[in-house]
């Protein structure tokens, strides 16, 4: 019976997806086409600097024709989905979402020029702290510890990055300090959640409040008084030889500071470790069914302690990025909710490092789009653009388009019998 039920559910979901696709095609036609005049052209530029091996010519096309093409492609996808059905629905949804965004950009940049490479770059940079926060969440939640205290871990990471980095006058020491800061808060979470079996969401909330208090207190006591303590050195961008000269993606991906590269490496590393190593298998087993893992000889407590501490280090790196890679000082509450957004990105990415990376990019994109549109004088309030990723997260979480489910044992303390 459950089989029939799920297949009916899947059918309904497939139909919903088809309708969603058709509606987006209609939205392109109704929202964007009327705004474009017949003679207007949209120009997308790809050369951020002159450093590419060879310059890509700018792409200029008539706005209206472009929009009609995108609407047609979207509508075709919708019709095909309703009539025959795609096998890889998630990918189709991603592609169509990309098309929709492209249509939006085409409309926004009508009669003007927009630099897509610059846009990619700034999206990535804005996404970095979110990616690290989401990775921290993945590390903790995969082993069954809900980590809502990412914000606090990032904040203490940022604080120690500034303080230790300034004192040692060395970026690398600052980076280690940040990891230490995140790990300290993570240790508190681990002890509360694993040893004292405190409700993990409550423990995370306590960590956020505590970290806010501690960093703000010590910042106004010391960092603001003695400027030397709050002037850390910063990482400089290192163009990767060769790679950074690849057109389009070169400047966007391969001309960054160390923390950015580190983040990209971490995404891949954690993905591989989670799904292709013994450690990853154990972690996932502990997150899904700790009792079974325990029976098979996996040390549940140790696995959880290690993962939460590593997760704290990763969150601390997120804080370090803010300090050592962009602003070169610690400010009170400087994480500004990025830890929470990372949490959303983690769920959006289905508790998967690569998925979390993708959804963090979406948040970063919305953020950078908002500043670009202000420059292009597009009459959409920036607040609504900034709202969009949150709305999308809710939609995804509600299972309207594909469901996102966390590890089964998430949030449950484990007791040995």
């Amino acid at each position: 019976m459950t089989l029939i039920k799920t297949s009916a559910k899947a059918q309904r979901r497939a139909r919903t997806l088809g309708v969603v696709l058709l509606v987006s095609a209609l939205a392109i036609l109704l929202l964007f086409v009327p705004g474009a005049n017949a003679g207007q052209t949209t120009t997308f530029a790809f050369n951020e600097t002159r450093s590419e091996a060879f310059a890509i010519p700018e792409l200029a096309f008539p706005t209206r024709a472009g929009l009609y093409l995108m609407a047609a492609l979207t509508a075709f996808a919708g019709a095909y989905q309703l009539a025959r059905g795609f096998t890889r629905q998630g990918a189709v949804l991603g592609i169509v979402a990309g098309l929709f965004v492209l249509a939006f950009l085409t409309w926004a940049a009508r009669g003007q020029s927009m630099n897509l490479t610059g846009m990619m770059k700034s999206s990535l940079l804005r996404a970095i702290p979110i990616i690290l926060a989401a990775l921290s969440g993945v590390m903790c939640e995969r082993c069954g510890i809900v980590n809502i205290g990412i914000e606090g871990m990032m904040l203490s990471g940022a604080f120690l990055a500034a303080l230790i980095g300034s004192v040692a006058n060395n970026v690398w020491v600052g980076l280690i300090g940040a990891m230490l800061g995140g790990a300290l808060m993570a240790a508190l979470l681990a002890v509360l959640a694993i040893k004292y079996r405190v409700n993990q969401i409550v423990a995370g909330t306590a960590i956020n409040i505590l970290a806010t208090g501690l960093t703000s207190y010590f910042s106004s006591r010391y960092l603001q008084k003695y400027e030397v303590l709050n002037t850390p050195p910063t990482f400089l961008p290192i163009p990767l030889p060769g790679l950074s000269r690849i057109p389009i993606i070169g400047p966007a991906l391969f001309n960054h500071t160390v923390p950015v590269y580190l983040t990209l490496v971490l995404v891949i590393a954690i993905q591989l470790m989670l799904f292709y190593t013994r450690w990853g298998l154990r972690t996932r087993a502990v997150g899904e069914h700790p009792r079974a893992a325990d029976t098979l000889g996996v040390n549940v407590f140790l696995t959880r302690y290690v993962n939460v501490l590593l997760g704290g280090c990763v969150a601390g790196l997120g804080g370090a990025y803010l300090v050592l890679s962009s602003v070169a000082r610690f400010d009170e509450l400087m994480t500004a909710g990025k830890g929470y957004i990372g949490l959303a990105a983690m769920i959006f990415g289905k508790w998967n490092p690569v998925g979390a990376f993708g959804s963090s990019l979406m948040f970063g994109f919305a953020d950078s789009l908002q500043t670009r549109l202000a420059i292009l004088a597009v009459p959409i309030p920036s607040q609504f653009l900034l709202m969009a990723p949150y709305l999308l997260t809710m939609v995804v979480l509600a299972g309207v388009v594909g469901r996102s489910r966390g590890p089964a044992a998430g949030g449950q303390p484990y007791e040995k019998e």
Partner: protein, 428 residues
């Protein structure tokens, strides 16, 4: 056997280990009030002691004194702590000597100055009580409402709109209408994650966090200098509300004493929540769903409906914290201000053990903490952020009472005293 006893029987029968159904009266009272209060009190005291250590160890004069000998250092540490906490207590409760002498002298101005700190504490407590009740009610119903902040923004927008846009109404109609607007606004905003949880199983923690940001951006949009609800003089604030929507002040002729009728509304709300939870069928359903949704389902309760109602009521209470703030104190709504109530409210609900009266006590404490911290910063130059440290520590100790019990060598509690607050992501 009526429905209630059936439900109760089933709830007790299907009881899972560690997540007891609402305990019958007699069992709950074992050990008495004092035992119930012991751990929270010790948690507060321990947090304050740790806070004192932080103050002492971040004061340069203490280190200098230690250079002159251990005894001098300790003495200096105590004097620094004494000055800070002295400023703290006089900022929170006023100076008792001055209050008594002012009362004896009978001079209005003197009395006002003497009781100002105490009244300020009550004023700050008012929104805390509402927000704390919101989270506590959610905990009782098994949902974690981190969205008090967002519900605050939405309710604030609706309240202030009703307050300034409707003109010419008598106060007896206008004021309740503005309050009601806050209730409805907050309630609807709270009902959204409730509905999503009930219908799709989406966890309310993430959805309320998302809705917090959406509400924040919405408020920013509406109250932007050129926003739909802006005053129109280039400042990012809403227009002043009509005087007919003002919550009456305790001391109508003394503007500096900002405490208002909202405080009594908050106390009434606490009583109402208590009555709802412990004296009505709906309250019983809320607590049963919170304690054991499976048992509730077997007893024929609609878990989905109860969750939506719990979240809506929780949102409405959070909304009232905004309404009383705006109608009683601010009289307009500024843009981009973070109330911070949303997260403090979680601490309040935990500290008050999710009991309405406990929440009132906890809110009075937090009101005192905030009021006192202001004074402490002004007089003893101790940053206000110390309160966040103390609050965070209080939550840690309350959530992990084992730490406190070990520290003070207390006996282990009776089984079942622990209150279920919230489950993991999976949902019910």
């Amino acid at each position: 056997m009526d429905d209630k006893t059936v439900a109760s029987a089933i709830a007790n029968a299907v009881q899972q280990p560690k997540s007891g159904a609402p305990t019958p009266k007699g069992q709950h009272r074992r050990g008495g009030w004092l035992r119930q209060l012991l751990v929270p009190l010790l948690a507060i005291i321990t947090a304050l002691i740790l806070g004192a250590l932080v103050i002492a160890f971040t004061d340069e004069s203490v280190f200098q004194a230690f250079g002159g000998g251990f005894g001098r250092g300790v003495g200096q540490a105590f004097s620094v702590i004494g000055r800070a906490y002295g400023a703290f207590f006089s900022g929170a409760f006023g100076n008792p000597v001055r209050i008594i002498s002012a009362l004896i002298s009978g001079q209005g101005a003197q009395i006002r100055r003497a009781i100002y700190p105490l009244m300020e504490t009550l004023r700050i407590s008012t929104p805390y009580i509402f927000a704390g009740l919101a989270v506590a009610l959610g905990f009782q119903g098994g949902v974690f409402n981190i969205g008090a902040e967002g519900q605050y923004f939405i309710a604030g927008l609706v309240t202030v709109f009703v307050g300034y846009a409707i003109k010419g109404l008598p106060a007896i109609v206008h004021l309740p209408l503005a309050l009601l607007a806050g209730v409805v606004g907050g309630g609807l905003w709270g009902a959204i994650p409730g509905y999503l949880k009930a219908k799709t199983g989406a966890h309310e923690v993430i959805n309320t966090i998302m809705l917090n940001y959406i509400a924040f951006r919405l408020a920013e949009f509406m109250l932007d200098a050129n926003g739909l609800m802006a005053r129109g003089d280039g400042r990012p604030v809403s227009p002043e509300i009509q005087p007919s929507a003002y919550l009456p002040q305790f001391f109508p002729n003394q503007v500096e004493l900002r405490v208002n009728v909202g405080f009594f509304l908050a106390l009434a709300a606490a009583a109402l929540v208590w009555w709802l939870l412990y004296k009505t069928t709906l309250g019983y359903e809320i607590r049963t769903v919170g304690a054991n949704p499976r048992a509730a389902r077997y007893a024929g309760m609609s878990v989905a409906r109860t969750i939506v109602i719990t979240m809506a009521l929780s949102g409405a209470l959070a909304g009232l914290s905004a309404s009383t703030d705006i109608l009683g104190v601010l009289h307009y709504m500024p843009n981009a201000f973070s109330s911070g109530y949303g997260f403090d409210a979680i601490a309040l609900a935990l500290l008050g053990k999710s009991h309405p009266f406990g929440v009132v006590l906890a809110s009075l404490l937090f009101g005192a903490l905030r009021a006192g911290a202001q004074n402490m910063q002004g007089i003893a130059q101790v940053p206000v952020d110390l309160t966040s440290i103390v609050q965070g520590l209080i939550i840690v100790f309350i959530a992990a009472p084992e730490i406190i019990r070990k520290l003070y060598r207390l006996r282990q509690p009776v089984e079942g005293e622990e209150l279920v607050t919230v489950r993991g992501w999976g949902g019910a």
